[in-house]
């Protein structure tokens, strides 16, 4: 029977089977496993049924710990239940995994194996997470390809039902989970044939039920626990046979043969690699090549069922001729004798070799090595290096491959020019922008080629770690034979560059083959393009004799109403010139795909795309190379010569995309990096930047405050600094007493760092009387202004910052004189979070330590290559760290505890040394008022004096105090994160920290959705909003976190929306920090996940407040101490209808298109909720607290 061929990724392959064979699915989003849960939710919400004809129930939990608990409960109640997770999420499931396994419960957890956070977080793939669960009692089955993911998802389900051992089915994060590949889809009959309904009934019969009550999960004592633990042995003994039987049955159904261990290579191999995961495919490809070309006696032992590890199955698969084995682990266990798979292999072979009849003539030599941590490329050259190493008499053990370890010299050298080019395979690379649809178009192309032709197709996509102006590189392969190359394209037949400027950023043509095809999206036509490209690109085109094509895709997109989406156009070009398909057939297929994708979204979209296809070919031109000369455009250095050495020598390589070349010695040993590095990565991503009109500026400071990337700076300074200023440097007289006479005032943009979001322009309250569309800041093309403004910016930086002690902190316009110590982050263009983060850095940055929950803010705050946290001229600035997602409040509390201890100890030492130091200064330090900037300034001066005195005292205590005396200056602890952390996964800790009474400041950057992982519902999501896991609109109201905090009484609580009321925001931040106790600020943060143009963010924030949806208030316990009502409501009565706010945003409006009646019903509920909450807060804010107190007193 012919089965359907589909081109899907590993996540979809796993979810497809999991959704078919389960009844309950409990998940929590975590990269790279999130799509499995999302797909399941989508399928269930659209009524897709499992093989028994019922729609699985899908629930998103507050954490992976919660998901595991729910899975455990659902299993105990008899449902077939699954979950999907990775990395830290899997760690949170471990306690329940022990329970589930201990109770012999059938389930399969599908895991996209991902790196665990150690010295750094990484979202990419390795086996460190799954290896941390190998002791739980779960069986572990590894898939090496997308086809295997689908197949093993089913095999593991069949095996768990029969063996009663729970299974962890894992595959490599990103490389397999996100690789799009043509595979054969199992049909429902296949699945039904594999799943024994009697076993399902047995599973159900073991459920807890009051109709047949029993106890499970008792507590046991030393007398019997041990014996009880040993009862499971027979199940583990049987598990491998049961799994093999399932594999055998699968073979009879599908014809695909799998075994617990499989051998690949020469039957008489002497050197064998043992490994599991996606690298297996690469190893197979390499072995084929080496055997064919050199006849080497080499092979590969593929481990599929890692737990329970069946030694006899393993040994039987090894060729009897084997003399040397190299075991490759995709994980690292520091301090261990070796990595887990290596240890298992050594033990297995040793055990059998010590038996009476050893299987091998001589004990094979076994080495172990690490490869591929955090999705590090694993290429044929590396496989060859491992085999070559085994040729040596004393091959390196405990080696690494894929890096250059110049410190402990573990690494194997590999030949970078050893590149395989399988026959009949076409490789293509596409460089694009995240926002231009390149990846989407390529996914479409793979679908067309994979599903509409006999060809195999593979796609893998590499994304930028920046969220604004991000670039993507698509790696595509097509061919007549199955594709086993599980690594990036190394030699391309075709390269498409979808943005001209990327020629300056990447060595785009580095990997192109001689005579290959190069397609460039260029505003310059075929006759002039050569003069405009960098010389290096011209050279490559000529020397490699490329077929070079240009198209002005933006022009075609504009003419056909496609905006900046050039996906359809570039896809059409690819098919027209690559020769992958006959041109006419390709065009027809593209149109079919367009119809498929867009017919549900209206005829107009379909017609528009058709028009784009039709207009493309007329605008596609081949560039004649004859007579073409190399341009004189040289690429600029990646970073300035003025950058620090570390930036120039190391970080610049990462910026350039050459991070793989960084040596071990160049990386910090403990994950510590210098501050202030983002300033050196000039990204130049803005098409337009703001230009200041000093003639009409009123110096309100709003532009600088709202700027998400700290690209608009304000300085007031003595006029004398203008003497050497560039001629185009603008200034005006500062309006404010604090500026003094003869001052100058400048607002300056950082032209190469600005992202062009236009929020500064939008918020500017001034209109030019001569032409009202102009304001005091106006957007103008960056390219023409770049050099001029670069010089102005550099000059601006030489002007001293305004004296902090002179700033009137309480005014927006003054507050913006404070230097931002958070700048040029990789956050989205127009980000709604970063203005708050930046404000913290301005107001308190020079004395702040930050605990940052994992999420958007930890990514734009701490993702390499460069980071935005910086320091002032005195060398002070925020000290930042990220622990985990779930523990951030506690992490911050720990910082506070430590700082308070240091402060306390310093004070004790200070008091003890008062006679030597001098009582006056000691008293001044101990009793210092540090409630404002001048107070802190004075204390710092005292501490400097103290240091001088201490250096003269020869006592142990003096030395101790010297190391601690900086803690005598006030330190501010800020605990930051998104709503996913604060409302969901971290809420327990957050609650405890608020209850602790400790002086910490909590900033909740509330986007009302999990932004970083792609828009999953959180408990902060508003009623009626559509989000992942709330496709029909969230039916329940947003959790009122502020009210929960207010209930403690002694917590400072504020709700703010900078775009709606910046003064209230500023006051809240100042009051929160000044409050000597816990404070929490919940900050409305617009987000691209809301589905509107970020340029309109200010208008949206105002609408959120005006509708009463987002109430502004401050609850200050200090007021209660004064007998006043602590709650100050800063919002007025709702003045616009909720729908006038909601339906500005896709997250709400899309429901009116998918479920119009339901949308109306939810809107009504949401509107009622808004009024209810408004009345409640208004009432609370009007309660006369002093009266109540006196009544109590009189009763006494």
């Amino acid at each position: 029977m012919e089965r359907l061929k589909v081109t899907i990724d590993g996540n979809e392959a796993a979810a497809y089977v999991a959704h078919k064979v389960n009844e309950v699915i409990a998940i929590y989003p975590i990269t790279p496993s999130s799509p499995m849960g999302e797909l399941s939710d989508t399928w269930s919400s659209t009524g897709k049924k499992n093989i028994w004809g019922t729609v699985p129930s899908v629930i998103e939990m507050q954490s992976e710990g919660g998901a595991a608990g729910t899975v455990h409960g659902a299993l105990q109640a008899g449902s077939l239940t699954t979950t999907f997770t990775a990395s830290q999420g899997l760690l949170l499931m471990i306690p329940n995994m022990y329970k589930i396994a201990g109770e012999l419960t059938s389930t399969v957890f599908h895991v996209t194996a991902r790196t665990l956070s150690t010295h750094a977080l990484s979202i990419f793939g390795d086996h460190s997470d799954v290896m941390a669960t190998r002791q739980t009692g779960f069986a572990m089955l590894c898939s090496n390809s997308v086809q295997e993911v689908m197949d093993f998802a089913l095999i593991s389900q069949a095996a768990t039902l029969k063996s009663r051992i729970p299974f962890l089915h894992f595959f490599d994060g990103f490389r397999t989970s996100h690789e799009v590949m043509k595979i054969e889809q199992l049909d429902v009959e296949d699945i039904k044939n594999m799943i024994d309904d009697e076993l399902v009934k047995k599973h159900r019969s073991r459920a807890l039920t009051p109709d047949n009550p029993f106890i499970r999960g008792s507590a046991q004592n030393p007398d019997v626990f041990f014996q009880g633990r040993e009862t499971v042995n027979k199940f583990y003994t049987a598990c491998s046979s049961v799994t093999q039987e399932a594999m055998d049955k699968f073979f009879t159904i599908t014809g695909r043969r799998y075994n617990l261990f499989d051998y690949y290579g020469a039957p008489d191999a002497e050197r064998v690699i043992v490994m599991m995961g996606s690298g297996v495919e690469t190893a197979e490809e390499t072995i084929d090549h080496l055997i064919k070309t050199t006849g080497e006696k080499i092979g590969l032992l593929i481990v599929r069922l890692f737990r329970p590890f069946d030694t006899s199955f393993f040994i039987n698969k090894l060729p009897k001729t084997v003399r040397k084995i190299s075991v490759l682990d995709r994980t690292k266990e520091p301090g261990s004798i070796g990595e887990p798979l290596y240890l298992d292999i050594v033990t297995s072979v040793s055990e059998v070799m010590s038996r009476k009849d050893p299987p091998f003539e001589k004990m094979p030599l076994i080495t172990g090595g690490r490869y591929g941590l955090s999705s590090k490329e694993f290429t044929p050259a590396m496989v060859k290096a491992v085999f070559d190493e085994l040729k040596k008499d004393e091959p390196k053990n405990h080696f690494t491959v894929g890096i250059n370890d110049d410190v402990t010299f573990t690494s194997l050298d590999f030949e970078t020019d050893f590149i395989l080019s399988p026959e009949d395979q076409i490789s293509a690379l596409f460089y694009g922008l995240g926002s231009d649809g390149t990846v989407g178009a390529n996914k479409n192309s793979i679908k067309i080629i994979g599903e509409e032709t006999e060809n195999y197709a593979q796609g893998y996509f590499v994304y930028d770690s920046k969220k604004s102006g991000s670039t993507t590189i698509s790696h595509l392969r097509f061919g007549k034979k199955p594709i086993k190359s599980t690594y990036l394209v190394q030699k391309a037949d075709f390269i498409g560059c979808h943005l001209f400027n990327l020629l300056e950023k990447f060595d785009v043509l580095k990997e192109i083959k001689e005579g290959g095809t190069f397609l460039l999206n260029s505003i310059y036509g075929k006759d002039e393009v050569f003069e405009k490209m960098p010389a290096k690109v011209c050279e490559q085109i000529l020397s490699k004799k490329l077929n070079f094509y240009v198209i002005d895709a933006f022009k075609v997109a504009k003419e056909t109403g496609m905006g900046l989406r050039i996906n359809t156009i570039m896809q059409t070009c690819f098919f027209a010139i690559s020769g992958v398909l006959p041109r006419d057939e390709a065009i027809e297929q593209i149109k079919n795909a367009i119809k498929k994708s867009y017919s549900s979204k209206g005829d107009e979209i379909v017609i528009k795309n058709f028009e784009a296809v039709d207009k493309t070919l007329a605008n596609l031109f081949k560039v004649e190379l004859e007579g073409k000369k190399i341009s004189n455009i040289e690429l600029k250095p990646v970073v300035s010569d003025n950058a620090p050495d570390y930036v120039k020598n190391v970080l610049s390589k990462i910026i350039e995309g050459l991070g793989d070349d960084v040596k071990v010695s160049e990386m910090p040993e403990d994950g510590t990096f210098p501050s202030s590095t983002a300033q050196w990565e000039k990204r130049n991503i803005a098409h337009q930047i703001p230009v200041w009109d000093e003639e009409i500026c009123i110096q309100c400071g709003k532009c600088a405050m709202i700027c998400p990337h700290a690209c608009i700076r304000i300085k007031a300074y003595d006029k004398s600094f203008l003497e050497n200023a560039p001629a185009s440097f603008k200034h005006m007289e500062g309006k404010g007493k604090e500026f003094g006479e003869d001052n100058a005032y400048t607002i300056q943009v950082a032209p190469e760092d600005c992202t062009g979001c236009t929020l500064c322009f939008e918020i500017c309250p001034v209109k030019n009387k001569k032409q009202v569309k102009l304001k005091a800041l106006n957007m103008q093309p960056q390219l023409e202004l770049r050099e001029q403004e670069k010089a102005n910016w550099e000059y601006f930086l030489t002007i001293p910052e305004f004296e902090r002690t002179q700033v009137n902190t309480g005014l927006v316009k003054s507050s913006q004189l404070f230097q931002p110590l958070f700048e040029f982050s990789g956050a989205c263009t127009g980000c709604g979070e970063t203005p708050y983060v930046k404000l913290v850095s301005q107001l308190f940055g020079d004395r702040t330590i930050i605990a940052n929950a994992t999420g958007c803010s930890s990514i734009y705050g701490g993702n390499l290559p460069t980071t935005p946290w910086t320091k002032n001229n005195e060398g002070r600035g925020p000290a930042w760290s990220n622990s985990l997602f779930e523990d951030n409040a506690e992490f911050g509390l720990g910082m506070r505890m430590s700082i308070d201890k240091h402060n306390e100890f310093a004070k004790e030492l200070l008091t003890g040394l008062s006679s030597e130091i001098g009582e006056e200064i000691v008293n001044d330090i101990l009793n210092a008022d540090q409630s404002d900037e001048p107070g802190i300034f004075e204390q710092r001066k005292r501490v400097e004096l103290l240091k001088e005195k201490l250096s003269l005292i020869n006592k142990q205590e003096a030395g101790d105090l010297l190391s601690l005396c900086d803690y005598l200056v006030k330190k501010s602890v800020w605990i930051m994160g998104g709503d996913g952390w604060a409302y969901d996964i971290g809420f327990g800790g957050l609650d405890h920290v608020m209850a602790s009474g400790k002086n910490v400041n909590i900033l909740v950057l509330d986007t009302e959705v999990y932004s970083n992982t792609g828009g999953q519902m959180s408990k902060s999501t508003g009623l009626a909003a559509v989000a992942k896991f709330a496709a029909s609109g969230k039916p329940n109201p947003k959790k009122d976190l502020a009210m929960m905090a207010i209930n403690y009484g002694n917590v400072y609580v504020a709700k703010v929306a900078m775009g709606a009321n910046d003064t209230q925001t500023l006051r809240a931040f100042l009051e929160a920090e000044a409050y000597d106790g816990p404070s929490i600020i919940i900050a409305y943060s617009h987000c691209i996940a809301h589905g509107f143009n970020m340029e309109r963010a200010i208008e949206h924030q105002k609408a959120a407040v005006d509708s009463g949806y987002w109430l502004l208030f401050r609850h200050n316990p200090l007021l209660a101490g004064e007998g006043k009502n602590p709650l100050k409501l800063d919002s007025g009565e709702p003045k616009i209808k909720l729908e006038d706010y909601f339906y500005k945003e896709t997250r709400y409006s899309m429901l009116t298109k998918s479920e119009p009646e339901h949308a109306k019903a939810l809107l009504k509920l949401a509107q009622e909720d808004v009024w209810k909450r408004w009345k409640m807060y208004k009432h609370l804010s009007e309660v006369n607290m002093s009266e109540d107190t006196s009544k109590t007193e009189s009763h006494n």
Partner: protein, 330 residues
Amino acid sequence: MDLSTTYMGLKLKNPIVASASPLSKSIDAARSLEDAGASAVVCYSLFEEQISHEANELVYYLESTADSYAEALSYFPESGDYNLGPEEYVNHIRKLKVALSIPVIGSLNGVSNGGWINYAKKIEDAGADAIELNIYYIPTDFQINGLRVEDMYIEDVRAIKSAVKIPVAVKLSPYFSAMANMAKKLDEAGADALVLFNRFYQPDIDLENLEVFPNLELSNEWELRLPLRWIAILHNNVKASLAATSGISNYTDVLKVMMVGGDVAMMCSELLRHGVKRIGEILKDLEIWMEEKEYDSVSLMKGSMDYSSVKEPAAFERANYMKLLASYKI
């Protein structure tokens, strides 16, 4: 007393038709129009821009942020189907047809010769008795001349006519250089009625915020004069029925429309101002007047004062202007 009239083949019990307005957005309000005596209802307009804007917007926001960042390949859940075409409007027409016994006229507001033309067929399939085509076009492009604008109108009418079997009315703007010729061309293109005239909502200036803003003003009585003139001129010169709209607020206005040759008088602003009950009041006043003046049917007066029936047809022309100026004394 026979108040009945015929409008593009539709037999109507009286000449007062509720024109396109928010009053037809709810079924209950539409019912109250019928109860008050309206002889037909023109449903609120289906706007071309609305449909295309919604579709483009949704696709843009679903796609523009997708596949940009490794951890978030999309930001919204996949939904199988979106109600992005005219379905909501078409369903509403269907509901109106069930709820009302008077004719329901669908209204299409657009300009391009694009996909929206197909919406007419869907409106017809939903049971609409006729379609009113409202071509709202402000020719700001300096390269487009009058002839091209006129051709565009004609093409739209032809396209709609070829798509549906039900009658098609064209609601026109008064801004044509040669209105009579334009009316003739539309008539020849197949328009079953001409609705005179569409009021373009003119923007206003907000002096406080220095912004241009749309300011919806309801029509005034004097605005009826323009339709009166042109109905008088066109009556009997085009096959199409003629409807007057703008400024009809009492029974005298209805009488004037009938006398210059209008088949129906369309009302909106007066109903929004003073409620739908005004239809009944006006019909009553109409009957009293006709009784007093001994008109036993509307058809008797229809066209009795059109261009060819009055003693001084020049009164509808430039001479009228001269006369007016001459009568004006400082």
